[in-house]
């Protein structure tokens, strides 16, 4: 639940989670176990193709909602069920309370429903004097504790067996041991009588199948089966997004949902209910069935060309399972009611911008969620869009306004960087700044900040530009700000290897920042303006490739530039042509130049690797850099959780230093455990973070760009 009024309060709440050792250990174990479990569950399946099919079928269902709803309603009613439509949460709750009243129901058992959590249904029904009991074990636990879920699939993951033991002792009035097996049995027996007494059962629905007029429920415990069988009235509350054309569509989702949620091939039970089935205690021996289909912000999303993809969500919770921020702070802080990346988005549409305002900024843009989403939703992008929308509606904070103003004017931006070089002089030592700038507080002290280089790459270029007589490839270099002004030696290293491989290079001087930092701050307009400048800077040359040594720049240029230009047809084409040429350093050297081991000196240096988020997920590059390490004369040692974010996230590390430092700590612990002398990576942002952290720690491990060691070892 989000209660914080501003970012400062929100950050204070985050600290509570960071200090909760039990939560941290549980979520750490879960993150690691989940990754292995999911991979195993999908091992014989073409998961990307399956996700594509789900995305297409859900998009089709969203577009045809009116027609499918009509079909669902007609079929459901023909089979004896009642169908209601609720425009918002209050209306849905009122409809259900009305059904209880009309059918004289007093006691209600419920199986797990995120939609009911969304509408705060229990509170509404209790206000009407009805008794509501959750029967899913986790939901029952949090209901007894008067809490919201901290995970969509495992709502009580934040609690220990001891906390549950104490809670159950209170509930039964007898002392209960903190043994999980026993606690489960206590719930089994305590809840069994609740089913017997109840006259209404409430469930959600995973599928509402238009061609049959029936619903499907995906569960493990078996409570939904009892909830839909024993009471004489059954109400299923679901969002409009649950309506799909056919049983086949449901079976397809079922192939991904449990595998993505918990790594199970399928859940223990999948229940298919079609029509008013037999019920001994019902009128005429039949059950009274009501389907309540709710809008509550969904049709607004459906109509939006960008956000309609949100309706693809099948509520598997995988986006939280892989989120490094969720792993640190848990679901109560990484969501309002819905959790994880999708939670950040749904909170804005379902619960309004007051609840979303702080939350939406807590995305490090590592794309881990996008990589596993069952519906192939571009979650990080949508999160940024909402961030931008809120800022457009409410005004932009000063730092983000300033940065966008500066970035839009390349000359001003570069002049400021050059000026900073002089300003930092008195506090500079060995490439780091000795004291943190005044504007940064103590919490930024976890990493040393790099100093700005003596001479930026753009000023060195005229002197070092090689002349290639018979070029095999013609390329343009895109340096990005960090390598231009902080680590120009990395660019120079790349130039040396390219020169040796007959690559002719240009460095268009009008290039500027790629724009990702301002986009991360929700400054979409500035992001677009900067992108246009860069497109112009590169449009004159006839290049085979545009090469960048920064994974984040590469992913941004490649994937976001065409999207940013979508309102201008002529620029869209230009951006696409430009994007098609963009390639990262390691892929270019490995896949295009195809360098050979005999070109490099053999060393006995052990090197490990950090996979930048925007390289491994953003560009789907995995093998190239690791093979280059071996080709380049070093021994590659694998690091644990190599593809997990280092915590930099550009401006994220400035906004949430406490989260950034924790992610960095984990990363460095894993790196140190490898025993490697050198840590290699493909992104200057990651290098800044990793070097700064190791320097502060006093470690001797060297952090270098892959390009640097290849240049060093080149024969």
């Amino acid at each position: 639940m989000q209660k914080a009024k501003n970012l400062k309060e929100y950050r204070e709440e985050l600290h509570e989670s960071l200090d909760n050792d039990f939560l941290r250990t549980t979520l750490d174990n879960f993150a690691v176990a989940y990754r292995a479990g999911r991979a195993n569950a999908f091992k014989d399946i073409d998961v990307r193709a399956l996700i594509r099919e789900i995305a297409d079928s859900k998009d089709d269902a969203t577009a045809r909602f009116d027609e499918l709803y009509k079909q669902f309603k007609a079929n459901a009613e023909a089979s004896g069920a009642h169908v209601h439509f609720a425009k918002d949460a209050d209306e849905a709750n009122a409809i259900i309370a009305g059904i209880a009243k009309a059918s004289d129901c007093k006691k209600i058992v419920k199986s797990k429903s995120m939609t009911a959590e969304e509408t705060l249904l229990n509170h509404a029904l209790e206000d009407e004097g009805l008794e509501v009991v959750e029967t899913d074990l986790g939901e029952w636990i949090i209901q007894l504790r008067h809490e919201g879920p901290s995970h969509m699939v495992m709502p009580a993951i934040h609690l220990s067996r001891y906390q549950v033991g104490d809670l159950f002792s209170e509930v039964t009035g007898k002392k209960q041991d903190a043994e999980i097996e026993k606690l489960v049995k206590v719930a089994r027996r305590e809840l069994r009588q609740k089913y017997v007494e109840a006259d209404m059962g409430i469930t959600g629905a995973n599928f509402a199948v238009a061609e049959t007029g029936g619903i499907g429920l995906v569960t493990n415990e078996g409570n939904a089966r009892l909830v839909t069988t024993l009471p004489r009235v059954h109400v299923a509350l679901m969002g409009m997004d649950k309506i799909i054309p056919s049983l086949h569509d449901a079976l397809r989702i079922l192939k991904v949902l449990p595998r993505n949620a918990t790594g199970q091939a399928i859940t223990s039970y999948v229940t298919w209910i079609t029509g008013a089935n037999e019920c001994a205690t019902g009128t005429d021996g039949k059950k009274e069935i009501h389907y309540v289909i709710m809008d509550n912000g969904r049709s607004e999303m459906s109509k939006d060309p960008l956000f309609s993809q949100v309706n693809r969500c099948v509520r598997c919770g995988a986006c939280a399972n892989v989120c490094p921020v969720y792993r640190l702070v848990g679901g109560h802080k990484m969501g309002h009611i819905y959790i994880g990346a999708i939670g950040l988005i749904l909170t804005y549409f379902f619960h309004g911008k007051d609840k979303a305002r702080n939350l939406i900024q807590n995305c490090i843009n590592c794309e881990a969620c996008k990589d596993v989403c069952a519906g192939g939703i571009d979650l990080p992008r949508l999160i940024k869009e909402i961030h931008a929308r809120i800022q457009d509606e409410e005004g932009h904070p000063l730092p983000s306004l300033l940065l966008s103003k500066v970035l839009k004017n390349r000359k001003l931006f570069h002049t400021l960087l050059r000026t900073a070089k002089w300003a930092q002089k008195p506090v500079e030592s060995e490439g780091f700044i000795r004291h943190l700038p005044m504007i940064l507080g103590k919490e930024h002290g976890f990493k040393a900040l790099p100093a700005i280089a003596e001479k930026p790459f753009r000023d060195r270029w005229p002197d070092i530009r090689p002349n290639i007589a018979n070029p095999k490839h013609r390329v343009a270099l895109f340096s990005g700000c960090v390598q231009d002004f902080v680590y120009p030696e990395q660019m120079e290293a790349a130039v040396r290897v390219f020169e040796a491989n007959d690559v002719s290079m240009e460095y268009p001087m009008e290039q500027s920042c790629c724009g990702l930092p301002v986009q991360m701050m929700g400054e979409m307009k500035a992001s677009r303006d900067v992108a246009v400048q860069n497109l112009r800077a590169f449009e004159t040359g006839d290049y085979d490739y545009v090469i960048t040594l920064c994974a984040s720049c590469a992913a941004h240029l490649k994937h976001n530039y065409p999207k940013l230009m979508k309102d201008s047809p002529s620029l869209t084409l230009k951006a696409q042509q430009f994007a098609d040429k963009v390639i990262d350093y390691s892929s270019f050297v490995h896949d295009v130049l195809k360098v050979k081991a005999e070109d490099f000196k053999k060393t006995d240096i052990k090197a490990t690797y950090h996979a930048p988020c925007h390289l491994c997920r953003g560009l789907d590059v995995h093998d190239a850099p690791r093979e280059l390490i071996e080709t380049g004369g070093m021994e590659y040692v694998e690091c644990d959780e190599e593809e997990v974010c280092c915590g930099f996230g550009g401006t994220f590390s400035m906004k949430f230093p406490e989260l950034s430092s924790e992610l960095l700590r984990k990363k460095l612990d894993n790196v140190e455990a490898t025993g490697a002398e050198v840590l290699l990576t493909d992104c200057p942002g990651c290098i800044m973070q990793l070097r700064g952290g190791l320097k502060t720690k006093g470690s001797s491990i060297q952090v270098r760009h892959v390009a640097e060691v290849l240049a060093d070892n080149k024969k």
Binding site: Q176, R188, I266, T271, E278
Partner: protein, 208 residues
């Protein structure tokens, strides 16, 4: 290997992965002996079901007290097979029922049913159970024993889609995919079997 045998092998492998017990049987008679045998070996419901050794609130304990002898529920069985089961139960001193499951909501020892189809890919049973008694037998039993004829095993859920639709179109319908025993990992992500449904699932693969 025939496709029937290879499907049956995959089914068995996948069902065992989710802790189902799979036994091959040659005849329905053999199934009955298996049911009686399991019922005899199984601890009485009061002890096992729900951890009767645990102290509970009064109301919950009262419900549990309602159950005294060992019960086998077998609604939906063919008449002659049920008659044979009934006779065997009588001999062993078990109560045998095929209806009125609502009088036994504290639990029955064994629910004995037939599956309509098996899904090899996931080791899943498809049980069409529009009859409330049949449904309850698969829910409130502590052990669910289910016969699956080998000829009814199909590759994946898509391959029984048509059969499912035929049944769903004959409304009202209530159908279940059952894969392993009832389970939860809601406390500390530790797997525990037997939350609200059966504690054990026994699948009898019938050669046919």
């Amino acid at each position: 290997m025939s496709s029937k045998e290879s499907l049956s092998q995959t089914f068995t492998e996948k069902a065992k992965l989710v802790s189902a017990f799979v036994t091959e049987i040659a005849s329905e008679e053999e199934a009955l002996s298996h049911v009686l045998d399991l019922c005899g070996k199984k601890e009485a419901c009061q002890l096992l079901v729900s951890g009767c050794e645990r102290d509970l609130s009064e109301k919950a304990e009262n419900l549990c007290d309602a159950k005294q002898s060992k019960i086998i529920a077998a609604p939906g069985l063919k008449k002659d097979l049920y008659k044979k089961l009934e006779a065997k139960c009588k001999k062993s001193g078990f109560e045998c029922i095929d209806s009125g499951l609502r009088d036994h909501l504290a639990g029955v020892d064994i629910g004995f049913t037939f599956a309509d189809y098996g899904i090899a890919e996931t080791g899943t049973l498809m049980i069409d159970c529009p009859s409330e008694d049949l449904r309850l037998a698969t829910m409130v039993s502590e052990y669910h024993i289910c016969i699956l004829p080998k000829s009814k095993i199909r590759k994946d859920s898509y391959s029984i889609e048509k059969m499912m639709l035929t049944r769903m179109n004959k409304t009202p319908d209530y159908m279940a995919y059952v894969t392993g025993a009832s389970r939860t990992a809601d406390i500390e992500r530790v797997l525990a079997l037997g939350v609200h449904g059966p504690l054990e699932l026994h699948i009898l693969l019938l050669e046919d």
